[in-house]
């Protein structure tokens, strides 16, 4: 009990008895559902219990203190006793909600202590260990100092960005522990009038950063709020209907004719609206539409989403953008590139949700987006921000669907190009104007496919051959192969239908269909039937392009390895020559038809409608399908902060990116994993925020020497969140920095900016926030109960906060000479 080593332990997990009495071993009897001890025992019963324990301890000579807990567990009330070599120590606790004036100071406490021991004279040396805990709130200070800056950077949400920072101030606190270890209690004056206990003079300082457990941070909250909306089951239409009803209700008083006009204008939803924009669009608000987003803002958002639209060009505004981080760190994550339409959609949905009143506004925006997409499709205009020329299964489904729409638009362009323009050259140039992002190969294919009436071209060369039937749909002559039964005629490679691009959901359905068939013989035939469309199409086209051809000719082109040449003779491979195989059957069934006359494998009209009806989703799905991009944006935002601050955070970029990949690269989405992701992200954001505000704060003392030491110290506080001693206490350079930065005095700015603060001189009058908790430990060795008793150990612990005082006393008495 006399050891000062364990004074004021900080670990919050420590049992309160250990903290109050400095005990290492003790036994506590407490109530539990199993032993049915009622906390609310009467005082009499408590006394009986207590004396039983005293008896027990005395009989067993147990050196370990025994405690009895009583009253509400929250009050943490105990009584206890121990007996060692003829001394009995009684442990008692007082807990008062109102603090009597005389107990508020060391002198008052000292008086009680002395009274309890029964030693009036001050011959006995009483030692006191004192610790004041000062809560420093850097957030608050920072906020007060720079209100404009904060307002500017964090309070207004910008389109195309993700906010970063704590959602409220005081998201963390620095406990500054200032202590006076083992001082002579009588030498310290601490009364209501004057106190020697000035934290700025305390010999020992230590600090610890503690985060507010429930504090929220913007990136993490943004993603969480967004994800919560994925459960909503309303359709876009239900919101729009609601809007229209509201509108009707408002206008009932107005003229019937006007209502009619408005209805006809609004319900077919003029497709050209967003493109032709201002002129037509600005008419709308005149009707006092209860629209969630006013025209100006809506135009702004649409221009952001569709930067290639006339509207955007007209407005000529530039928006915030995200840049893909280096090293392809998000390669595995099924999201969409930073400059993609899907990505911008996610940010726009988030923006609209936050700024314009939630899901209603999102539904409204989404409807506009669908209209624009439909407009693009119907007019064969490509969409900026959709890469590739087929759905990339490594991206999210929304992006894949948009890629699919792009395929359809390209196909449409090619189609209308060939009918509109007579010459292939003309078409080529007109299409390449639109198709800036796609590969040349694709362009060529499409041209050929729709345009290819190759007869004209071929005739000059063909005229030497005798064509039995008029060949159709030729692409080019095969460089080497000649027809088996007509060796003078080249085999012509037909124009073929390209396999239809597939989004992952379609591919999956297809596989499911295959898996659903029986595995063996019968199923196999079914599976072949399901997949032979492409083969039959190729065969038809081949037959049409090569009149008089035979199956062998086809195999030689389509599957050359199945044509075996051996010592002069050549034949079909064994597997191809069997009768009744799928290949032979398909060949028999295939009619000679060029692809122009074939049923299309890929019907862009059907597919485009599919995409558009996919886009017409439930409101929850809007959030669900854009979530991957929003999360990616959140991470990129976090990474930016990580790059700009040289503080080590718990999770590195790669780990976070991996977590994101894991969430979205597979089909099974786990909310548990999602929570883990958010927790990790939040922990980083938390540290970054704390460090950021600390760094800003530390600028105040930039003029003092050893500023680097100070910033290092702050960084360490953030990084390991452990208690860190301030070597040299208040008078050390480090202490000076802290004093300056957390100074509550009026002249703080003047003091630090003058830069003449000398360490030797009396420090300028500063004032730290007043201590939140003051703790005292008084201890002495004195005879008790009588002067002739053997001296024994006494200890009293007192903890004062603004709300209450708790005193824990352990007083011993000599049993032999007592």
């Amino acid at each position: 009990m006399l050891s000062t080593e364990n004074d004021f332990p900080l670990s919050a997990t420590l049992h309160p008895l250990a903290r109050w009495f400095g005990l290492a071993d003790f036994v506590v009897m407490t109530s539990s559902p199993f032993n049915k001890i009622d906390y609310k025992v009467s005082e009499d019963r408590l006394k009986i219990l207590h004396s039983s324990i005293v008896m027990a301890v005395s009989n067993t000579k147990c050196p370990i203190p025994m405690f009895l807990q009583f009253d509400e567990p929250l009050r943490q009330m105990f009584v206890g006793v121990s007996e060692v070599s003829g001394f009995r120590t009684l442990y008692e606790i007082i807990d008062l909600q109102k603090i009597p004036e005389r107990l508020q100071t060391l002198s008052g406490l000292l008086e009680i202590f002395k009274g309890k021991i029964g030693v009036e004279d001050s011959t006995q040396l009483i030692k006191a260990s004192i610790q004041f805990t000062i809560d420093l709130l850097p957030d608050t200070i920072e906020f007060e100092d720079t209100p404009e800056e904060n307002e500017d950077s964090s309070l207004t949400l910008k389109l195309g960005s993700i906010p970063f920072g704590p959602e409220e101030f005081n998201s963390f606190v620095i406990h500054l522990f200032t202590s006076w270890p083992n001082a002579n209690a009588d030498a310290i004056e601490d009364t209501l009038l004057h106190s020697d206990l000035e934290p700025l003079q305390a010999p020992k300082w230590a600090a610890q950063l503690v985060f507010e457990e429930n504090a929220t941070y913007k990136i993490a909250e943004t993603i969480k709020t967004f994800a919560k909306q994925t459960h909503r089951r309303e359709s876009i239409h239900s919101f729009l209907e609601y809007l229209e009803k509201e509108q009707l209700r408002k206008e009932e008083k107005e003229q019937a004719a006007e209502v009619l006009e408005r209805l006809t204008a609004a319900s077919p939803r003029d497709h050209l609206r967003s493109r032709l924009s201002k002129a037509i669009y600005s008419r709308l608000p005149k009707y006092h539409l209860p629209v969630p987003i006013d025209a100006e803002n809506l135009n702004d958002i649409l221009a952001y989403i569709f930067p290639d639209s006339d509207l955007a060009k007209e407005m000529g505004k530039s928006y915030l953008t995200f840049t893909e981080p280096p090293d392809n760190i998000f390669k595995g994550a099924k999201a969409a590139p930073c400059d993609s339409l899907a990505f911008r959609l996610a940010l726009a949905v988030f923006f609209v949700y936050e700024r314009f009143g939630g899901v209603l506004a999102v539904a409204y925006l989404w409807q506009e987006v669908i209209l624009e997409l439909r407009y693009r499709w119907e007019n064969g205009l490509l969409i900026a921000g959709v890469d590739g020329d087929m759905p990339n299964h490594g991206t999210c489904l929304l992006h894949q669907k948009l890629q699919m729409l792009k395929c359809c638009i390209i196909k449409r362009q090619a189609g209308s190009g060939s009918t509109g323009e007579a010459s292939p050259q003309g078409m080529q140039s007109s299409s390449s104007m639109y198709m800036d992002t796609q590969s040349d190969v694709m362009t060529d294919d499409e041209d050929e496919f729709f345009d290819c009436e190759t007869d004209d071209e071929d005739k000059p060369r063909n005229s030497t051959h005798i064509a039995v039937l008029k060949p159709e749909g030729r692409k080019e002559a095969h460089p080497t192969l000649r027809l088996l039964h007509n060796p003078e005629v080249s085999i012509f490679i037909p124009v073929t239908q390209e396999p239809a691009p597939m989004t992952e959901d379609v591919a999956r359905e297809h596989l499911e269909k295959l898996v659903a068939t029986e595995e063996e013989a019968e199923g196999k035939a079914n599976r072949i039937r399901l997949q032979s469309v492409a083969l039959v199409s190729d065969m038809s086209a081949f037959k049409a392009a090569n009149p008089g051809c035979v199956f062998e000719d086809f195999v030689r082109w389509h599957s050359p390895r199945d044509w075996e040449e051996e010592s002069g003779t050549s034949r079909l491979s064994e597997r191809m020559s069997q009768a009744g195989t799928a290949w032979k059957d398909a060949w028999e069934a295939a009619e000679g038809k060029s692809v122009r006359r074939q049923k299309r494998l890929f019907d862009e009209r059907v597919e485009a409608e599919n995409v558009l009806s996919f886009m017409d989703m439930l409101i929850g799905e809007v959030f669900r399908h854009t979530l991957p991009m929003l999360m990616k944006a959140g991470l990129i935002r976090l990474f930016e902060e990580m790059d700009s601050l040289e503080v080590t955070v718990q999770h590195d970029k790669r780990t976070l990116a991996k977590m994101l990949s894991r969430l979205f690269s597979e089909q099974l989405f786990s909310w548990t994993d999602f929570e883990n992701f958010i927790t990790s992200l939040r922990s980083n954001e938390q540290a970054l925020c704390a460090y950021k505000s600390m760094r800003r704060l530390s600028a105040k003392s930039a003029a003092l020497p050893e500023h680097q030491t100070f910033t290092n110290f702050l960084r360490q506080l953030v990084e390991d969140r452990q208690l860190r001693a301030v070597p040299g206490g208040a008078r050390s350079p480090l202490g000076q920095h802290i004093a300056v930065c957390f100074d509550q005095g009026n002249q703080s700015r003047g003091g630090s900016s003058s830069g003449n603060v000398s360490l030797r001189a009396q420090p300028p009058k500063r004032r730290l926030p007043s201590p939140a908790v003051r703790q005292f430990i008084l201890r002495t060795v004195a005879p008790r109960p009588y002067l002739f008793s053997r001296p024994s150990i006494h200890r009293m612990f007192a903890s004062l906060s603004e709300r209450d005082i708790r005193i824990a006393g352990a007083f011993s008495e000599d049993l032999l000479y007592g």
Binding site: R233, S235, H237, K331, M390, H393, G394, C396, L397, T496, P499, M502, E504, D505, V506, A507, R508, L511, E512, L514, V515, K524, R527, I528, L530, Q531, S532, A534, L535, H558, S559, R561, D562, S573, E574, R575, Q578, T581, A582, W583, S613, F614, D616, M617, L618, E621, R624, H625, P628, M659, R662, F664, S665, E666, Q667, L668, F669, S670, W671, T672
Partner: protein, 229 residues
């Protein structure tokens, strides 16, 4: 995985397996992919399997560390014209067997291309084994064992020479592939068990998971709209 987890999870309940791996056999036309698969799944061989149209599959359940692993092995058509179609199914595969024919130079030369296809279309963790098939036909061999090995090293793949006809190394290839998939899983699982659930298309009955991505939005939509009427 590209292939219907919803369904596979149901299977899991019905059919008692702990993991399900989707494997893909790819390579040029007539290098022996179908024969190889039939040898493994049915222990049979004929030189005249019908040339695969599109893709086809077989199922085999194996035991590994007391766990039942159901292998859904997809066999693909090797013809040039089928390349684009088959790549659409790469995404869900956890393992690839990339096959060439040791008696055919061209099939060996295509290995690099196939490898690029895997990199482009499959997911990052997919494991690949390079297999030189038809090693029973020593007389007609044009690709030496060393060349195969060298290429495998260069591409960072494991390598086997096999014969579906003589049943050489067929089982070994599959076992090795399952092993490296499991190893890879164990690596990632340390930090997060969910990866099995995701990547391997489902630890049976994994709690707390739900389909969020993928196309179920598409399926729900009809119902949702009806409610709104």
């Amino acid at each position: 995985m590209a292939a219907g987890n919803g369904k596979w999870q149901k299977d899991a309940a019905d059919q008692n397996f702990d993991y399900m791996f989707k494997l893909l056999i790819i390579g040029n036309s007539s290098v022996g992919k179908t024969s190889f698969l039939f040898r493994y799944a049915d222990d049979s061989f004929t030189s005249a399997f019908v040339s695969t149209v599109g893709i086809d599959f077989k199922v085999k359940t194996v035991y590994r560390n007391d766990k039942r692993v159901k292998l859904q092995i997809w066999d693909t058509a090797g013809q040039e014209r089928y390349r684009t179609i088959t790549t659409a199914y790469y995404r869900g595969a956890m393992g690839f067997i990339l096959m060439y024919d040791i008696t055919n130079e061209e099939s060996f030369n295509s290995v690099q291309d196939w490898c690029t296809q895997i990199k482009t279309y499959s997911w990052d963790n997919a494991q690949v084994i390079l297999v030189g098939n038809k090693c029973d036909m020593e007389d007609e061999r044009v690709i030496s064992h060393d060349r195969g090995r060298q290429l495998a090293d260069q591409l960072g793949l494991e390598f086997f020479e096999t014969s579906a006809k003589e049943n050489i190394n067929v089982k070994a290839v599959f076992e090795r592939l399952v092993d490296i998939i499991c190893d890879r899983m164990a690596e990632t699982v340390d930090s997060d068990p969910a990866v099995i659930g995701g990547g391997a298309a489902g630890v049976a009955g994994k709690a707390g998971t739900q389909r969020l991505t993928a196309g179920d939005g598409f399926q729900n939509k009809g119902a949702g709209q009806q409610c709104q009427c």
